[in-house]
């Protein structure tokens, strides 16, 4: 971890305007923003830790908790909602044993998250599985997809 931090730090100097790009680098390197790295960087760059946490919680691309190996994004836009995305979401959480209030399963295999709109309303309900957009999904289809991922592991 220290080496990665050093590498990230090399690219920046003390300036609060850099906080977002630093956080993006962290996300890219670790898959999330580990808490201890924030305090370490805050110390080194003289940017208050509260600033880092403020930014990290503002942008949905940044995460403060480790994420799963496979990311399932359920669209919760209006058309998808009408087409039953809520049911898909809750079933996926159940199927993948994701504790309530969390997004990631304990074995860190899966993360199920919501997004406001992916911009593919014509094929609602939409789910993005590992960056692959899938339209007109239903629960049966989703379970099949999940099982395929599992068998590949």
């Amino acid at each position: 971890m220290d080496q990665v931090l050093e590498k990230i730090l090399d690219n920046y100097h003390e300036h609060e305007g850099n906080a977002l790009t630093i956080l993006q680098d962290l996300e890219e390197n670790f898959g999330y923003v580990p808490e201890e790295t924030v305090y370490e960087l805050s110390d080194r760059l003289n940017i208050p830790p509260s600033r880092f946490f403020g930014i990290a919680t503002f942008f949905s691309q940044l995460h403060l908790k480790p994420r799963g190996k496979n990311i399932i994004t359920v669209c919760r836009g209006t058309p998808c909602h009408v087409k039953g995305s809520e049911k898909i979401l809750s079933r996926m959480r159940m199927e993948l044993d994701i504790p309530s209030g969390e997004e990631t399963s304990e074995d860190r295999m899966f993360t199920v998250e919501e997004v406001n709109c992916v911009g593919a309303c014509g094929m609602a309900p939409v789910v993005v599985i590992n960056q692959q957009v899938q339209g007109e999904v239903n629960i049966k289809k989703m379970i099949k997809e999940v099982n395929e991922i599992r068998s590949e592991e």
């Binding site: 208050p48 830790p49 946490f53 403020g54 503002f58």
Partner: protein
């Protein structure tokens, strides 16, 4: 200040300097523009949208907090259109704000309540949203209750501007919340509990931890005083109900937020007035123990002893007593007891002349601050308000140079940090100044001929030469050098550790006969060893010593708390605290500040001056309470800066931290500030 521009606000002609925003300009005309997030003196951010006004010629309403006055501008602040927007804003905020005004401590001063009342909104027309955020009440100072928060961002901005940087926003939209780093409780987040956020919170989201049921704002009587706990001497507003202090806020005298700050000591230390170490009655040592006696008996006995002692008597005082007390003490010693032996604790860390030479200046006029040999810090609690004042100045217009042979907290923010010997650095700067087109007096150049300069000093000289009003704030040890620099341009301040050092010295409490070191047998710092040169030692105020000096036959301690020294005294006289006295003091910037009495002196305690007057009477001499005109005259006396001797003054071996802790020990130990100590936060 820019040139005056004419504009019209709600039909009234107003003249406002260029650069003024519309909220401030309207205020000049007596028009209040509603707002929830604006802070006078800080840049408007337009977060709350309450200050929207209509300007003729502009289609859409504009935010008044961030719109500057223009010549011939015509502004309407109460049109139907903007009132409708304001009503909508309040309606929205109310949908997620608890409507428990009946029990809310902020009722009466809550901005949200005020505007809801104005629009007649009993309840939001939107469905009620409720977040179950935990209340942060893990410390005895500040309670953080996010349920009340309206996300105006005032607290985040003050915390940030003063450099404490504890609070920030998290999340976005309706789920935003004001948090500390990683949403930890305040006491685990580096918070210093200064309470600046409490002062600016428009609602009840941030409040004093013990405010509940202690009284509503309209029940309080308010008094303007000055905190006397360290050299910063900050303005305070004290709220009283039933002769008890209910709370202390940063003083109201300063017009903008730039000057408003008090630290946790000033805000929460007041409980010591009724604390466990408070001296409520005179005491005399009988059979090895201090026993209560009447004031009359004590003063009669003491008058006799003082008469007999004459020149063998000596007076030492803290530099935290008020001007009136200091002048009375000086006269009492000189004219009644007739002893030249008077001195104050200011002589422990400075030569008193330095404070008398210190100039009068204004922080908000300085475009360059030079800190010499001092390390103010909110976190070590050494001169915290100075730390904040410097940081605020920097966030506006100021520049900073630090000159210190040791590491300082502010060096990180300085444009230039000269880390070598302070005197050499100043000499180097002075020597380089003429290279940048500024004339320097020959008599001064003579003293720096030998000095060597380096790149840093030359750069500092360039910055100095380019500034229009530099303010040099120096440890007294380097004051002569610092004031030589100010002799070229700007003002020089000798920074004291005690609140009224500048005042007591000007009132005449400075080494004349025996010094405080001689009288209290001080070897160095606060270490006492050897023999005193006086037989009767009279200590005034909470003098931070702990030993009755050898050679002293009779020790009188006139203080408000049972300090270490009072515990060894032969006679203890109960003195009123600064919160129980009216009078005046001179702050580090040379300003004479008046103080109101906030509560009655506890028990039999009396102000120092009243005790001296009574003692003088018992000795057959009439001593009058010094009239304010005399105080004013004495406080204004200022010795011109000297340009000669630029050596470092040695002698004080106590760190500012340990000295201030010793000085404030009674306050720290008998108020909720004790929690800081117990939690390892001081």
């Amino acid at each position: 200040m820019g040139k005056l521009l004419k504009l019209r606000i709600d039909g009234q002609d107003v003249q406002a300097p260029a650069g003024t925003n519309l909220i401030d300009a309207a205020e000049m005309a007596g028009v209040h523009i509603p707002n929830l997030c604006y802070l006078k003196g800080m840049k408007g951010i337009g977060a709350c949208r309450m200050c929207l006004v209509e300007v003729e010629g502009l289609k859409a309403p504009v935010i008044a907090c961030n719109t500057r006055v223009k010549q011939d501008m015509v502004v309407h602040t109460r049109t139907e259109r903007v009132q409708e927007i304001r009503r909508f804003v309040i309606d929205l905020i109310l949908s997620m704000h608890p409507l428990d005004c009946v029990t809310c401590t902020k009722s009466g001063v809550c901005n949200l309540q005020e505007y809801a009342y104005e629009f007649g909104l009993r309840e939001s027309s939107f469905s009620r949203k409720k977040f179950t955020y935990p209340v942060d009440d893990g410390n005895p100072f500040v309670k953080r209750d996010p349920a009340y928060c309206i996300l105006c961002g005032r607290c985040v901005r003050v915390c940030k501007e003063q450099g404490t940087n504890v609070l920030d926003f998290m999340g976005r939209g309706i789920e935003s919340k004001v948090i500390t780093a990683n949403d930890m409780p305040l006491h685990e987040s580096g918070c210093t509990f200064c309470g600046s956020c409490v002062d600016v919170c428009p609602v009840s989201a941030l409040r004093e931890a013990d405010r509940e049921q202690k009284g509503r704002e309209w029940e309080f009587s308010r008094y303007e005083s000055v905190c006397m706990l360290c050299g910063c001497g900050c303005d305070i507003t004290v709220s009283i109900k039933g002769d008890m202090i209910q709370k202390i806020n940063a003083g109201n005298r300063a017009p903008s937020t730039e000057q408003k700050f008090i630290c946790a000591y000033g805000r929460f230390g007041y409980e010591h007035v009724d604390g466990g170490k408070r001296i409520l009655a005179p005491m005399v040592r009988k059979g090895g123990r201090l026993q209560e006696v009447s004031m009359k008996d004590a003063l009669e006995d003491l008058a006799g002893r003082l008469k007999k002692a004459g020149k063998n008597a000596g007076f030492i005082s803290t530099a935290s007593i008020l001007n009136e007390d200091a002048l009375s003490l000086q006269r009492f010693a000189e004219e009644v007891v007739k002893t030249p032996n008077i001195d104050s604790t200011a002589s422990l860390y400075a030569r008193p002349e330095e404070f008398q030479k210190s100039q009068k200046a204004k922080m908000d006029k300085a475009d360059l601050i030079v800190l010499v040999g001092i390390n103010p810090s909110q976190w070590t609690r050494v001169l915290p308000a100075l730390d904040v004042a410097v940081r605020r100045r920097l966030s506006r217009k100021g520049r900073l140079i630090t000159i210190n042979s040791q590491e300082t907290g502010l060096a990180d923010l300085a444009e230039l940090n000269l880390s070598g010997d302070e005197i050499q650095a100043i000499q180097g700067i002075i020597k380089s100044v003429p290279d940048h087109g500024i004339k320097v007096d020959q008599s001064l150049m003579k003293h720096v001929q030998e000095a060597s300069t380096d790149k840093n000093m030359q750069q500092a000289a360039e910055i100095f030469a380019g500034s229009s009003s530099p303010l040099i704030i120096s440890d007294p040890a380097f004051f002569d050098a610092a004031s030589s620099l100010a002799g070229i341009k700007g003002h020089a301040i000798a920074m004291p550790l005690e609140s009224n050092a500048h005042g007591v010295v000007r009132m005449g409490l400075k080494t004349r006969g025996a010094s405080i070191q001689d009288m209290a047998a001080i070897e160095h710092g606060l270490v006492q060893r050897g023999k005193s040169t006086v037989k009767l030692l009279y200590a005034v105020g909470d003098v931070p010593l702990s030993k009755k000096p050898d050679g002293v036959d009779f020790l009188v301690v006139q203080s408000s708390s049972l300090t270490g020294l009072a515990g060894e005294a032969d006679m203890v006289l109960p003195a009123a605290t600064y919160l129980e006295s009216s009078g005046s003091m001179v702050d580090y910037l040379g300003e004479l500040k008046t103080m109101e009495q906030t509560i009655e002196p506890r028990g039999a305690s009396k102000t120092h001056r009243d005790i001296f007057i009574q003692l003088a009477k018992n000795m057959g001499v009439t001593l009058k309470k010094p009239p304010f005109s005399e105080i004013k005259k004495a406080a204004g006396s200022q010795a011109g800066p000297s340009m000669a001797d630029m050596s470092r003054k040695e002698g004080f071996q106590e760190t500012p931290e340990s000295y201030l802790q010793a000085l404030n020990a009674p306050v720290l130990e008998t108020s909720r500030l004790l929690w800081l100590k117990e939690s390892g936060l001081v």
